[in-house]
């Protein structure tokens, strides 16, 4: 049975690494673009929300002046109070919903860091740092793969250890409160 020459194997692994690296670079770029878009979107949403709320307050103040001057019917004042309460409830929901970017950004950054770490690991495939000494080519390939696997394992453990997950929320339901 013909064995694969170790140099040819290294070239093939380097090619695999190159393909993987290209895809990971694309993923990294897309994730960074997504983070940037979300960042800009939340800034615009936040500023618009503040402006809308300020106008609402002005409008309510103007209506209150009319009510105080007796220019509104009792039923109209009651109806306006219902509107105000409804607006207040919706404002609370908006404030809760607007917090999504804080969580998605943390998750995106963690994913970006993992992709970056994976790229570093893949570079092992194209590196030529392992010693070549065995006369037995089959044994040398075995050593090569074993060393590669060890380096991957160490790198993977290090990467996982540095990427603690800080966001476990699965939805936008409000979180629990504990007072000590």
């Amino acid at each position: 049975m013909k064995t694969l020459p170790v140099e040819e194997l290294r070239e093939l692994l380097a090619a695999v690494s190159s393909h993987g690296d290209w895809h990971l670079l694309e993923i990294e770029t897309d994730l960074q673009q997504t983070a940037f878009l979300l960042d800009e979107a939340i800034e615009k949403l936040g500023n618009s929300f503040m402006t809308v709320y300020a106008h609402l307050m002005e409008q309510q103040a103007a209506i209150q002046l009319l009510a105080d001057a007796g220019k509104l019917q009792v039923e109209e004042v009651a109806q306006l109070q219902v509107f105000q309460d409804n607006i207040g409830q919706e404002v609370n929901k908006v404030v809760t919903g607007m917090q999504f970017q804080d969580m998605t950004n943390q998750l995106l950054q963690r994913t970006i860091n993992r992709v970056h770490g994976l790229k570093m690991l893949l570079q092992e495939l194209s590196s030529h740092q392992f010693p070549m000494s065995a006369d037995d080519e089959k044994e040398e390939i075995r050593q090569f793969i074993r060393q590669l696997n060890q380096n991957f394992d160490q790198g993977s453990q290090h990467l996982t250890g540095s990427l603690r997950k800080s966001v476990s929320q699965q939805d936008m339901a409000t979180g629990e409160i504990d007072l000590f």
Binding site: I42, G97, M103, A173
Partner: protein, 122 residues
């Protein structure tokens, strides 16, 4: 005179929503972008309550709390954590560092104000 609350969070949108909720309830708000910034601003003026995130660049929330508790002026000032972290392990660390409460994001403005009022009054 309105009570002052220091909010510490590296997320601009989160700071904006926290400040909005607190100001609407009548509190004055000082904002900081990370633990170190929070510590500096806390030293400039002693506030009535500190509301801090945990995971931030430069200095995290637990380190901020530990540093604040070494200051004589912050021995009794209530400190609440407002964070995505929800594990019992992290809460225990927060309590050990000197936090008085733990709020998991996202927060509901009404409930946030209720807690703040309970801790420092209106």
């Amino acid at each position: 005179m309105a009570k002052t609350i220091l909010t510490v969070d590296d997320s601009g949108s989160l700071r904006q929503m926290v400040a909005f909720s607190l100001k609407a309830a009548g509190y004055d708000v000082v904002q900081a972008v990370d633990g170190q910034d929070g510590l500096n601003k806390a030293k400039e003026k002693t506030v009535d309550l500190v509301l801090t995130d945990q995971n931030m660049p430069v200095m995290d929330g637990l380190t901020l709390i530990s540093n604040l508790r070494t200051l004589a002026s912050y021995q009794r000032v209530p400190i609440l954590m407002l964070t995505t972290e929800s594990s019992d392990e992290m809460k225990a660390k927060g309590k050990a560092a000197g936090a008085n409460g733990w709020l998991v994001k996202p927060f509901d403005p009404k409930r946030l104000i209720e807690v703040v009022q309970k801790v420092i009054g209106a």
